[in-house]
C-alpha cells in the first residue's frame, strides 16, 4: 500500500485492513482490540475530560510531528488539572493520496509518546476525504484522566504564590515558523513538544501545594499569565530577566520582530505554587527531563488586579499584554 485512498475510509475491507495492520498494531490494548462500538472504561476517581484538534503545518517539524503533538497536547491538558492521563480517543481525517509511509510515521510517533504517560488509545475513527478537502492530515484526540490532585484551578491563585516555568519559552512557535516554506532560514531550534506528565506526577508525589498549572500553548507565556491574572483577580509580578529563552529562539525573534513570550509552547507549563514549596517544586522539576530548565519567574501580588507587570533589570516596568493578531496560523 503506497497511498491512502478514499476506499480506506469507506468502512469496508480496506478500512478494516488499515485499522488492523496500522492502528491496532501501534496502539495495541485490550479495550481497543475488543473492537466494540464504544470503549467500556472503569475509573475510580473524579475524571478530567478534554479534547483538541491538530492541524499543524508542516506536519513534520524539527522536534516533533502532528502525531506526537496530538498525544502530548491532550495528555498535557489532563496533566494540568492534576489528572493522570488514562484513555484517549484518536480520530484521523486524511486527504486522499496521503502517503501511507507518512501515516505510519505519525502513528508510530503517537505510540511512542503514549508510553511517556502510560495513557492508552481505546477508540478511534478514520475518515478519508477527497483531495483538497483537508491539507494532508488532521487529527483529533480526546482524553480522560483520573484526578489525583484536587483543587488545581486557574481561578484560585493565592497572594504570595510563586510562578515557575518548567523550561525555556517559545521553542514550538519558533520551530514551526522556521520550517515554514519560503522563510529560507536554518537554525538549531527544536520544538519543545513533549509530555509533561512525568514532571507533574513528580510534583504531586512530592506533595507540592499547587494552586494552578497551565501549559503555555497558543498565545505563549503572555497568554497564560494574563489569563491567570484576570481569572483569579490578582497581579502577577514577573522578572523579565528570569524568563528562560533559548538563544536561537531569541535570534529568530530579533530577525522577525516577534516576542518569545508570545510564541506557542507544546511541552512547557507555567506552575503556580505556595511560597513555602517554591524551592522544593523547582528542585523536583529540575530533576525531571522535561523540567530540567525550570525557573522561578515571579510571584502573585495585589498591586494591580487583573494585570501582569514585567520588571526589567534596568529599573523600569510595564504591563505585559496578550498577544494580538495572526502571529502564526496552524501552529498546532
Amino acid at each position: 500500500m503506497k497511498d491512502i485512498q478514499l476506499s480506506h475510509g469507506g468502512g469496508g475491507e480496506e478500512t478494516n485492513s488499515l485499522i488492523r495492520d496500522l492502528f491496532y498494531k501501534a496502539f495495541e490494548n485490550e479495550t481497543l482490540l475488543a473492537a466494540e462500538d464504544a470503549a467500556l472504561l472503569k475509573v475510580e476517581k473524579n475524571i478530567a475530560f478534554t479534547t483538541d484538534s491538530f492541524t499543524v503545518s508542516p506536519i513534520f517539524f524539527s522536534g516533533g510531528d502532528i502525531g506526537k503533538l496530538a498525544i502530548a497536547g491532550t495528555v498535557n491538558d489532563l496533566a494540568m488539572m492534576g489528572a493522570r492521563p488514562l484513555y484517549l480517543s484518536a480520530a484521523f481525517i486524511i486527504e486522499e493520496g496521503f502517503a501511507f509511509d507518512k501515516l505510519q510515521m505519525i502513528v508510530d510517533s503517537m505510540a511512542k509518546e503514549l508510553k511517556k504517560s502510560g495513557a492508552k488509545i481505546v477508540c478511534g475513527d478514520t475518515k478519508v476525504v477527497p483531495r483538497g478537502s483537508v491539507d494532508q492530515i488532521f487529527i483529533n484526540t480526546a482524553g480522560i484522566g483520573e484526578v489525583i490532585k484536587e483543587g488545581i484551578s486557574s481561578n484560585d491563585l493565592h497572594l504570595d504564590d510563586v510562578i515557575i516555568v518548567t523550561g525555556d519559552v517559545g521553542r514550538h512557535g519558533a520551530a514551526v515558523l522556521m520550517e515554514r516554506e519560503g522563510l529560507g532560514i536554518n537554525g538549531d531550534i527544536q520544538s519543545d513538544c513533549d509530555t509533561l506528565w512525568p514532571a507533574v506526577e513528580a510534583l504531586i508525589d512530592g506533595n507540592i501545594s499547587i494552586s494552578a498549572m497551565r501549559d503555555a500553548t497558543r498565545g505563549g507565556l503572555s497568554a497564560v499569565l494574563n489569563e491567570w491574572a484576570e481569572q483569579s483577580s490578582v497581579c502577577l509580578e514577573i522578572e523579565e530577566a528570569h524568563i528562560p529563552i533559548n538563544e536561537p529562539v531569541q535570534g529568530i525573534c530579533e530577525l522577525f520582530g516577534f516576542e518569545a513570550l508570545d510564541f506557542a509552547n507544546e511541552g512547557t507549563a507555567v506552575v503556580c505554587v505556595a511560597p513555602l514549596h517554591a524551592q522544593m517544586a523547582l528542585d523536583i522539576l529540575r530533576s525531571t527531563e522535561v523540567g530540567k530548565n525550570a525557573q522561578v519567574i515571579g510571584r502573585v501580588t495585589n498591586k494591580k488586579e487583573g494585570k501582569v507587570i514585567l520588571f526589567s533589570s534596568h529599573g523600569s516596568s510595564r504591563y505585559l499584554d496578550l498577544p494580538k493578531g495572526e502571529l502564526l496560523p496552524r501552529i498546532c
Binding site: 519560503g182 522563510l183 529560507g184 530577566a241 538563544e247 531569541q250 535570534g251 530579533e254 530577525l255 522577525f256 520582530g257 494591580k304 494585570k307 507587570i309 526589567s312 533589570s313 534596568h314 529599573g315 523600569s316 516596568s317 510595564r318 504591563y319 499584554d321 494580538k324 493578531g325 495572526e326
Partner: protein
Amino acid sequence: MDNLQLKDLYEGFRDPSVIKALAKQINIEAKKLEKPLYIMEVCGGHTHTIMKYGLKQLLPTNIDFIHGPGCPVCIMPKERIDHAIALSEQKDVILLTLGDMIRVPGSKSSLAEHRAKGYDIRPLYSPMDALGIAQDNPDKKVIFFAIGFETTTPMTAALIDRTVKSKINNLFFHINHVLVPPAVDAIMADKRAKINAFIGPSHVSVISGAKIYLRIPEAYKAPVVVSGFEPVDVMQSILMILRQRNENRSEMEIEYSRSVTLEGNTKAQELINTYLHPRGHFRWRGIGDIPDSALELRPEYAKYDAEKIYADVLPQEPIDDHKLCICGEILKGLAKPHDCSVFGTACTPNKPLGSCMVSSEGACNAYYRFAEV
C-alpha cells in the same frame, strides 16, 4: 568573525548597568536645561524600543518624547488600502504584501477580512519570496503591494531588478514607499509643533546616509542624532542631544556609528534610482498631502506598475479617518494616545479605528501593548 553570535550584536546594547549609567548622566545633564526638551523619535521602531524597555520612566520630567510618523503601515491612507483590496478582487490576481498591512482597515474592509472571503492574499516575510510565487503561478497575476520607508525600498528595487532582468511577466508592483525628510518638514510646518530635537532612524541612514538630515538642524534649530534601535542606543542619543542643547549647538550627529556613514549605501541608492523616482505628491494618513514624499515606478517600467494597469478599478477619492480618531494630532506630536477619547475603548489593536493602533510600531499600539505601570 566565525564565532559571531546574533546575541553579540545586541547584548551589550541592552546591558542594564549601561542603561542605568546613561540614565544617571542624562538626569545630571538635564538639570542644566533651560527649556524642556521635546524629542521627536521619527521612527516607529524607536517608539517601540522606548515603550518596550520603559525608557521614559528613567528620564527626568523635562524630557518628553513626541512619537513621529515613521511607521509605514500607520501613515497609509485608507484609499491606498482600498487599492490593495480592489486589486485582490481582480481576476486571477494573487496579492502580496508585508506583515501588518494585512490587518489595516480600509474604508470598508481589511485585507485579512478579504482573505477570509476567499481572495488570494498572502503576507510575505521577504519581498524576494514574490519571485517564487510568480514563477510557481504562471497563469496568475502576482501583485506586490510594496510599503516602507527608505529602509525597505532597496528590497523592492532589487525585486523589480530581478523581475525585469529575468523577464518575469506576471509580477507587478503597487509602490507605496515613502520618505522621511519631507514628513519631518511637513510636521514642522505646523506652527504649533513643540519639537526641539530629533532622533533619526539608523536603518534609514544605513541606506540613504546621514546626509539626508544635514539641513534639519539649521532649518529648525534642533539637534538631530541618528540612533540605533537598542535601548542603550536610544539613551546614548538622548545624552548626545542634551549635550548639544547645553552647549548651544544644533548639529547632525551619528550615534549608530557602527553602520551609518554620511553617504550611506550608494549601491542601494543607485538601484532605487534606476527603477523608482519621487511622485508629485502622496497623501499621508493623519498629516495630509506632502509633495515629493513618496516614490513611484519610473514611466519606462509602466508595464510593471499595477497602479497604471489597474487604474480603472482603483478608487482615487481621499478618505479620512473616523472622526473621533486623533492619529493626525498624535503623528504631529500635538497629542498623546491617552488624549484620545476612543483609545483602548472603541479603538484597540483587535479593532483599530485609526492607523496608529494597527501596527506594533504605531504610537497607540505601543502605548496599549507596553503601557507603563
